[in-house]
């Protein structure tokens, strides 16, 4: 009798409990904090599902960067009066909506329990392709992301560009071109500065490491990029560095580097390997790492840009 099932159940209860807290908390800020904790614990669930890559992504993006984003927003909105968003719905509506949500969740549970057995899987095909289009990458997730379903990944990078532009576009007209508002307070606390000075270099190294091993072990451009992004954000919070101006050419180049290189590589596919988004088997791994390197850069720049928000014309 292993102790693991009990841990699993405890973890599940904790995760659901924090989710309930996130929904039920009266205070906006408390709800946000609950969500961040929830995200961290969820990463553990992913570990238990044999999904370390997802766990890393969830911890870094789903909980970490999203956490900063939401906490910042919650802090700015928290000062505002309650009830400004409109009245809370009545009890009857609450009961009705709750019943419907319960029904949907119930249906989902029922369906999950009758998922076909044996489960259909593309794992055999992915395994078979590992030495072909998979380029001998030890991490099948990376092979899926950069080779088999590279098209999804490239589009997702385009989505990130659009999101950045969308966030910027929310700013004021006259502020265009300027930098977003600083992430930290005018006189950062010593502890913040200390943390940034200590953590950022180490974190950056770890980020690059995670990216580098991603070809064969859990990790990759997403996770590494998210870590780099986090380090940059810490540095910005400590005012060691400031958010860049949105019209900075280097920033724009960095943002598009990933998708641009991806797109060019995809377009070159017919010349290299006879098909768009195909890579010649002999050079597949270096090409993939090359693409990933630029994606790392783009992610590392895009996530902080998304958190920093639209350009801000006012000087603090």
């Amino acid at each position: 009798m292993s102790v693991l099932p009990f841990l699993d159940v405890a973890l599940a209860l904790l995760v659901v409990g924090l989710a309930v807290w996130t929904i039920a908390a009266r205070d906006l800020f408390a709800s946000v904090v609950g969500y961040v904790a929830y995200g961290l614990l969820l990463a553990l669930v992913w570990v238990r599902l044999y999904a370390p890559d997802v766990a890393l992504t969830e911890a870094a993006v789903g909980s970490g960067v999203t956490g900063v984003l939401l906490i910042t927003a919650g802090k700015r909105l928290g000062a505002a009066r309650a009830g400004e968003a409109g009245p809370s719905p009545g009890l009857a509506l609450k009961l009705f909506a709750g019943a419907l949500a319960l029904l949907v969740a119930g249906a989902l549970v029922a369906i999950i329990l009758i998922l076909p057995d044996p489960a259909p899987s593309l794992a055999p095909q992915a395994a078979a392709a590992a030495d072909g289009p998979g380029a001998g990458l030890g991490n099948p997730i990376t092979a899926v992301l950069i080779s088999y379903r590279s098209f999804d990944t490239m589009l997702e990078k385009v989505v990130l560009i659009l999101a950045v532009l969308g966030v910027w576009s929310v700013g004021a007209d006259k502020a265009w071109g300027a930098a977003p508002a600083p992430l930290g307070r005018r006189n950062p606390y010593g502890a913040t500065v200390f943390l940034a000075q200590m953590l950022a270099p180490v974190g950056a190294v770890i980020g690059v490491h995670i990216f580098w091993v991603g070809a064969d072990a859990p990790g990759g451009a997403f996770q590494g990029g998210a870590l780099l992004a986090a380090m940059w954000m810490i540095a910005m919070m400590a005012r060691i560095t400031e958010p860049p101006r949105v019209d900075a050419r280097w920033l724009r180049l960095a943002l598009v580097a990933g998708p641009a290189v991806f797109l060019i590589a995809g377009l070159a596919g017919p010349l290299m390997a006879g098909s768009f988004f195909a890579f010649p088997h002999a050079f597949a791994k270096p090409i993939i790492l090359f693409i990933e390197a630029f994606m790392l850069l783009s992610i590392a720049v895009a996530l902080p840009a998304l958190v920093a928000g639209p350009p801000n014309g006012r000087s603090e």
């Binding site: 076909p116 899987s121 088999y148 385009v158 532009l165 969308g166 576009s169 598009v256 195909a278």
Partner: protein, 500 residues
């Protein structure tokens, strides 16, 4: 082990058609300023040519053209697939986006050497993003890939809604975004279930494998619900009127004419391409009932709006209802299904062109008059004859009067309803036409009556011509030859026994 590469001749065009606007986005973003506009407009002829080339290939091959990305066949790889409907939609989108782009030059121009402006950069990039997203939606063959495309579409559309930065547009954009996210997450859950059940997300492969099991039905219900939220089918239209009515005219035209069609198109794909083997009469009737409610409510609300753009936006709510009549009228492998199918596609096209033309005209009108209060239009038709001609012609198609695409669509819908014995669907078709006549009348009558009107600035003739051109296309659709309807049948799963 590996299935053979299903790529067909001409398939490479599909990749190019997607990558072209993607490259445009990247270039515009890096070069910035006036270059964004140059890139966006400079690429339009190429995009249009690619769309036409795809249509030509599909028509001449008589079967869908396919491209397996990376040379890797589904289920492991992603395939792109263009059939007759995709081809037609690609061309329509190319025309409308090009028109919207050239129309918008007046508003979103960056002066030579001038500083980059927020709204201009956003507009030109998002316009290309919509192009890219729609292209993927029209030719995508993988349900998850289509999810990414849907998100691309939403991310491109939302900033356009609030591009002028007023609080009410921000609220409209936020409502749009949140509800669209609600929709996309619902869609994504359905995708997960499909993968869990069949281990593939490729549309033709799924079509071969699906059976009428609870998993499939839940997946289909979730995906449909999500897509309906993004399409704003009544009663999920909460976000549409303010979003479409407050965006700049060129954006409204694209949002109303094309963007809602993107998610609708995926609904079509789901039911007619993924699930053709299922007997979906019950679901089709639910969608038909919602369509009926949409047509009546949307039209009545349009009839009661004081502002022209809100009127046109509510008309979109009604016209979206018409789109969904395709489900009861084309589901199954009946003789009449082909008629219903043609009707549905014709309705997409007719509404796309007519509505785009009307929104562009409404924009010109608002700029010229400084307002879009219908009650204050007296004498406007004399001052702006071409603009009102466009509104009238667009209205003609919405009302379903001949000759117009709207007429053809209604005509085919009525035939399919009668032939299938579902007389109940003639009610919304006819009532919607009458109510549309009512709201078009409401626009035109005050404008045509006598009155003195002061124009702030007369609209540019070229912009009026663009809007008129779109309206004329909506009209010309009424003359579509048989070959056009044959094209729509290419690749339709249940067309004349293609599915065993």
């Amino acid at each position: 082990m590996m299935p053979p590469d299903p790529t067909t001749p001409g398939g490479a065009l599909l990749v190019l058609a997607i990558l072209l606007p993607c490259a445009g986005i990247i270039l515009s973003f890096v070069l910035g300023g006036r270059n964004a506009e140059r890139v966006a407009l400079g690429l339009t002829p190429f995009g249009f040519a690619l769309a036409c080339a795809i249509a030509f290939h599909v028509a001449s091959a008589g079967k869908p053209i396919v491209y397996a990305l990376g040379g890797l066949a589904p289920p492991l790889g992603i395939a792109l697939r263009a059939d007759g409907v995709s081809a037609v939609m690609l061309v329509a989108a190319a025309v409308i986006l090009t028109a919207a782009g050239f129309y918008a030059r007046a508003k979103f121009a960056t002066p030579e050497g001038g500083p980059e402006s927020r709204s201009a950069l956003t507009f030109w990039i998002m316009l290309q993003a919509i192009w890219a997203a729609l292209t993927i939606i029209f030719v995508g063959g993988d349900l998850f890939n289509l999810y990414v495309a849907l998100e691309l579409l939403t991310f491109a559309a939302v900033p356009l809604v609030c591009i002028d930065g007023r609080p009410e547009t921000l609220a409209a954009a936020l409502r749009y975004l949140l509800f669209a996210l609600f929709g996309s997450i619902s869609y994504l859950l359905g995708v997960a279930l499909f993968y869990g059940a069949y281990g593939t997300l490729d549309i033709p492969l799924l079509a071969q494998r699906v059976q009428s099991t609870p998993i499939v039905w839940l997946a289909a219900a979730l995906m449909t619900g999500g897509l309906l939220a993004k399409t704003a089918l009544f009663p999920l239209h909460l976000w549409l009127p303010p979003a479409h009515a407050n965006a700049p005219a060129a954006a409204s035209a694209v949002l109303s004419g094309l963007v809602v069609k993107g998610s609708f198109f995926l609904t079509l794909r789901l039911w007619f391409y993924v699930l053709p083997a299922l007997s979906a009469a019950g679901a089709a009737n639910i969608l038909g009932a919602l369509a009926l409610a949409a047509i009546i409510t949307g039209s009545v609300l349009a009839l009661r709006q004081a502002r022209l753009k809100l009127l046109i936006a509510y008309s979109t709510v009604a016209q979206i209802g018409y789109l969904f009549l395709v489900f009861p009228l084309a589901t199954g492998a009946h003789v009449w299904s082909g008629i219903g199918w043609s009707a549905g596609v014709m309705q997409i096209l007719a509404h796309a062109f007519a509505k785009a033309a009307m929104f562009l005209s409404a924009g010109l009108l608002a700029e010229a008059l400084g307002h879009d209060q219908i009650a204050r239009f007296a004498g406007a038709a004399r001052a702006l004859p071409m603009t009102f001609l466009t509104l009238g012609l667009g209205g003609l198609s919405l009302m379903g009067l001949p000759p117009s695409g709207g007429f053809s669509a209604k005509w085919l819908m009525l035939q399919a309803s009668v032939a299938s014995g579902q007389w109940v669907w003639t009610l919304p078709v006819l009532a919607g036409g009458l109510l549309a006549a009512g709201y078009v009348y409401r626009i035109l009558t005050p404008a045509l009556s006598e009155g003195d009107i002061m124009l702030k600035a007369p609209p540019k003739r070229s912009r009026e011509a663009i809007a008129l051109g779109l309206a004329l296309i909506a009209l010309a659709l009424g003359f579509a030859p048989q070959g056009f309807f044959d094209l729509l049948e290419i690749g339709r799963p249940l067309a004349a026994g293609t599915l065993q």
